[in-house]
């Protein structure tokens, strides 16, 4: 039986197991939205801005491991997706972005709301399609989902002209894809595995740095086995957080620009670095020429192009992280490395992260710590981008993969609220906390309405310091405190929430933190906490930009600071 393109798209999405999509309608999508109610299996969540749809699909994908789906209309709808697609691309998040396009006859004529979205997104998608034929639509959807979720995941865009939705074709969903140019490496090269095992067995001061690749591969158990068997300390990248339990005795936290002092010292001194599912981002390496200067490097990654891109490595292993680690286990000898681990513990004592000097001040670090206590470390924590993001990464202890969701590679402010929304939709059984900054939050604040309309229970903690805090911190440290364009006038977030029918509380004192969090957690439905924190608190430790990791700046002794609030009251 023949079906319309809109029906074929819906049936194909269902065949791919899609039960939720985030979208925003428009002229060329009308045939699709007209058809959507025929398929109640697909829950459509109407966002308030297409950027929110892309970030929500991203948060959903990270929380569930499934492909996130977002949809936008042609022209401005499609361009509004761009930030979210770029974010998913840089953080290797499986996503299918569907965009409407003007009718085929008008393509290339600068028609109303026509934009070349495949051209615009060419460098930020894993692949893209223009579906010019209704009969090819099912095949395209099949391929798009396959490409998005396999190998190194990423966003795939499908641009669909309006009349492709209305044309009819036979619907047969293909059961196989035929992509001769698409290779997914799985097994590492056996010789390299042997060489790597030999180096690991011989190393005196080995160190594992684990990234998001471990989470994507679902290789936490394999990583743990390697670390425990050979007694190798583990540090992570920002996006690797949660892939190795931070409560584990071998866990030494995050490395890099705002990493722990002991993780960065370990990098400086290790004689073997085992980099697993990470890509040597400059925020992790610091000055590349001084990165892990004494170490041989084993790099295990699924993407061959990541090998040798930023850092030269001694043993490259291209393959699925979990498969590679599993294959290596029987070659790894039991080991102890007592002295090396003792040394790391000594550094941990010298550069403690747990030491929060609050006095009578309301400090962001304390808030994150209290959130950790109250949620028993079991929440999914989603962040925006900035200081609050780093405090969340440093002071919440993550023991589960998929429990820390943050914009790493792109560093997209405004990611937090929509991503938290997506995470909660994907994992309704989990408590989802958004830790956001007053700057980040205002970039996508309109999604509060989506939380209410679609009954999405996200708890919101705003670390409100009245500044674009991370930029202010750089101005403080590197631009002689010349605070240009960083003081931030904020509305009363509690009143804003109230206007959206979301209850909220303002918190100004340290002793109010705990009861406020408890109140938020008890409340059924979204809740907003506005923490009026110390305005000029900085994130430490910090590796200055361009410096080597060992040159990290530590928290200076506290001075008495004033409280120049800049909020509108």
């Amino acid at each position: 039986m023949k079906k319309t393109g809109a029906q074929i798209l819906c049936e194909s999405l269902i065949a791919e197991g899609v039960d939720v999509m985030f979208g925003f309608p428009g002229g060329v999508l009308l045939p699709f939205y007209d058809t959507l109610p025929q398929y109640p299996q697909i829950r459509h969540i109407l966002v308030r801005h297409e950027q929110g749809a892309a970030h929500a699909a991203d948060g959903y994908a990270r929380a569930t491991g499934k492909v996130g789906v977002c949809m936008a209309t042609s022209g401005p709808g499609a361009t509004n997706l761009v930030t979210g697609i770029a974010n998913a691309y840089l953080d290797s998040v499986p996503m299918v972005a569907l965009t409407g396009q003007v009718v085929r006859a008008q393509i290339g004529k600068d028609a109303f709301q026509e934009i070349d979205i495949t051209g615009i997104t060419l460098p930020i998608t894993k692949h893209s399609y223009v579906a010019m034929d209704t009969a090819a639509l099912a095949k395209i959807v099949k391929e798009a989902f396959y490409i998005a979720r396999t190998g190194r995941p990423g966003p795939v865009l499908i641009d669909i002209p309006k009349d492709v939705f209305t044309d009819q074709a036979e619907f047969v969903y293909p059961d196989k894809v035929d992509l001769p140019g698409y290779k997914v490496p799985t097994y590492g090269h056996p010789t390299q595995l042997k060489n790597a095992a030999k180096l690991i067995n011989e190393a005196k001061q080995p160190l594992i740095i684990a990234g998001r690749g471990v989470i994507i591969s679902g290789a936490s158990a394999e990583l743990k086995e390697l670390a425990e068997r050979a007694q190798i300390p583990v540090i992570t990248t920002l996006l690797g957080i949660g892939c190795f339990p931070e409560s584990h005795v071998l866990s030494y936290g995050m490395a890099g620009m705002h990493g722990t002092g002991y993780a960065n010292k370990a990098l400086e001194n290790c004689d073997l670095l085992i980099a697993i599912g990470m890509r040597f981002d400059d925020r992790v390496t610091g000055k590349v020429s001084a990165f892990a200067p004494n170490a041989k490097i084993i790099h295990i990654d699924l993407d061959p192009a990541e090998i040798g891109k930023n850092v030269n490595v001694d043993i490259p292993i291209v393959g699925d992280v979990g498969v590679v680690l599993h294959a290596m286990h029987k070659m790894i000898e039991n080991n102890s490395h007592i002295e090396w681990i003792g040394q790391l513990d000594e550094w941990r004592k010298q550069h403690p992260m747990l030491d929060i000097q609050d006095g009578d001040k309301l400090l962001p670090q304390r808030i994150v710590r209290e959130l950790y206590e109250a949620t028993k470390g079991d929440a999914i924590v989603v962040t925006g981008v900035g200081q609050h993001q780093m405090w969340a990464a440093q002071h919440y202890f993550f023991n589960n993969p998929d429990s820390f969701i943050s914009s790493g590679g792109l560093g997209a402010m405004g990611f937090g609220l929509p991503a938290a929304m997506g995470a909660k939709v994907g994992r309704p059984e989990k408590m989802v906390w958004l830790i956001d900054g007053d700057g980040s939050f205002q970039m996508t604040i309109q999604e509060l309405a989506t939380l209410v309309q679609d009954d999405i229970d996200v708890k919101i903690a705003i670390i409100n310091n009245g500044y674009l805090g991370m930029v202010r911190q750089w101005q403080d440290l590197f631009y002689q405190k010349n605070y240009v364009a960083t003081p931030l006038s904020c509305p009363d977030f509690v009143k804003i929430a109230e206007a959206y029918c979301i209850p909220g509380l303002q918190v100004t004192k340290r002793e109010e933190i705990k009861p406020a969090i408890e109140k938020a957690m008890k409340h059924k439905g979204p809740f907003l906490l506005n923490f009026m924190v110390e305005p000029e608190e900085n994130v430490y430790p910090m590796v200055p930009p361009g410096a080597s990791n060992i040159e990290f700046i530590e928290q200076p002794k506290k001075e008495v600071s004033t409280w120049p609030r800049r909020s509108i009251r």
Partner: protein, 180 residues
């Protein structure tokens, strides 16, 4: 590190936009293309792209890997180290009067080039060969006044009975970091 000319051969899907993806990758990663030549291959629906790129071995290796990641790139080889047959075609329109015509014909003859068009004041010469040969002929012709040149860029093939070698993981490079 020394830069050298590398010859990359990519077998790509013959679909709209594929060349755009290939070229866009060069722009995006800041690599420079010396020349690029595209045409059909021995397999229907697959095109063969020959790209000449100037760079260090590490850079070109990165280029190769990034191209290999494109879904529409079916295969890619760096055939630089192989025994190659590399050819380029050029059309050269050169000024020719009755006084100079025979001399130009003689030069064309030496280079086994063909005259493809004759006009009252010009000759158009078609020459095929490697870049050196074409350059040498152009050097000789410039004295007569070259009005127009069109060059295809190099196409290349590995000598011998076998097809292009299968892409394989390169062995680990030496630990250059210590010198950095």
């Amino acid at each position: 590190m020394a830069t050298t000319k590398h010859t990359l051969v990519a077998i790509v899907q013959d679909k709209p936009g594929v060349l755009n993806r290939v070229v866009s990758m060069f722009r995006r990663r800041g690599f420079n293309i010396d020349s690029i030549a595209v045409g059909h291959s021995e397999v229907p629906h697959l095109s063969r792209v020959t790209i000449i790129v100037n760079g260090t071995t590490a850079t070109v290796e990165q280029v190769r890997k990034q191209l290999d990641k494109l879904i529409d790139v079916v295969k890619i080889f760096d055939i630089t180290g192989e025994k190659l047959t590399g050819r380029e075609l050029a059309l050269v329109k050169v000024k020719a009067s009755s006084a100079t015509r025979s001399e130009i014909l003689e030069i064309a003859d030496i280079f086994r080039a063909n005259i493809v068009d004759v006009a009252s004041d010009s000759l158009t010469i078609e020459i095929t060969g490697d870049e050196d040969k074409i350059e040498s002929m152009l050097k000789l012709l410039r004295g007569f006044g070259v009005k127009e040149i069109a060059r295809t860029g190099r196409v290349a093939m590995v000598r011998g009975a076998l097809g292009a070698p299968p892409p394989e993981e390169r062995p680990a490079r030496t630990h250059a970091k210590k010198q950095a």
